[in-house]
């Protein structure tokens, strides 16, 4: 807010809301005032959004790693496999699982906006929505992967999926070598959000 007392020769950090934030608060106030929705509705929706997290995806991936029959179902009918695990993916119109292989890596972007498998991964990270990622992921996916620490040999094929429509994609990362006798719960700790977007592989050890 620019008041006369601010005018004393130098700039102060501005705490003012952006245009879009002001607009969304104005719309919220109108919806409440006109009784279209209640404060409780808004809080329930916030709680619902916050409850969805990459832990859902990690559970699915770890199960697919230890149970080949589940993995086959997860790839053939991802929504049914989610229901089996108690994860509600019904909000997704069409859900496709992309299986990474030794000689193949998948990576997901939405160049048009920020389409993302929210019921499985929660809200997308800010970088996923940035112009930088949306431009460079399609032009130079290997360069983007290198920045996430994944250095792929030339003979590994990269497939970038631009999710422009009703399909939501989840990458099924490779199970790290040397984890053959690990428990499902420990395996899930190796499955990062970013490995399910496909910009990196799963971790090979549990983070401290």
């Amino acid at each position: 807010m620019n008041t006369p007392s601010d005018e004393h020769g130098h700039d102060h950090p501005k705490n003012e809301l952006s245009h879009y934030a002001k607009r969304i608060y104005a719309i919220r106030d109108l919806l409440l005032e006109k009784g279209v929705i209640s404060e409780k509705d808004i809080q329930c929706q916030i709680d619902y959004q916050e409850a969805r997290s990459p832990a859902n995806g990690a559970k699915l991936v770890a199960r697919a790693w230890v149970d080949p029959a589940f993995k086959a179902r997860f790839i053939a009918d991802p929504k049914a496999a989610c229901a089996e695990m108690g994860i509600d993916a019904t909000a997704i119109n069409e859900f496709v699982v992309l299986e990474n292989k030794e000689n193949l890596r998948h990576m997901v972007v939405c160049t048009l906006c920020s389409c993302y498998p929210r019921p499985i991964l929660g809200r997308p990270p800010d970088w996923y929505k940035s112009f930088n990622y949306r431009q460079r992921s399609v032009v130079d996916p290997r360069g983007v992967m290198r920045e996430f620490g994944l250095h792929l040999p030339e003979d590994v094929e990269v497939r970038v999926h631009d999710s422009t429509a009703d399909i939501r994609y989840l990458v099924l990362p490779l199970r790290p070598k040397g984890t053959e006798d690990w428990s499902e719960a420990d395996l899930a700790k190796l499955v990062t959000r970013d490995s399910m977007i496909g910009v990196m592989d799963a971790l090979d050890s549990i983070p401290e």
Binding site: D140, P141, V158, R159, V160, D162
Partner: protein, 96 residues
């Protein structure tokens, strides 16, 4: 999914229409006019170009997963790398 109504089959070569018009277009600019192939038929979906304006989205449009060679899109790029985009049928023409 009703694949019977789909105009294209997996493997068919297709060219994305080069059109520039206003509206809620879900075909990214960078593949307009480019040639690729059908990788998969996703099925029939309500048309977002109609839904975005509060209309009913009918008739439904067949949606395809269309693959492009990275090296066909940009001057650089690994020869084996692909870019895959979901494209509605009315944006595709058959290609040689």
């Amino acid at each position: 999914m009703n694949a019977d109504v789909a105009r294209f089959r997996p493997g068919d070569r297709v060219k994305v229409k080069f059109e520039d018009r206003p509206g809620h277009i879900r075909t990214p600019w960078y593949i307009r006019g480019k040639t690729g192939w059908i990788e998969r038929i996703h099925g029939e979906f309500l048309n977002p170009e109609s839904l975005a304006f509060g209309r009913d989205g009918l008739p439904k449009k067949t949606l395809y997963l269309v693959a492009f060679n990275q090296s066909d899109l940009w001057d650089k790029g690994n020869n084996a790398d692909k870019l895959l985009v979901d494209i509605y049928e009315h944006w595709l023409d058959p290609a040689a």
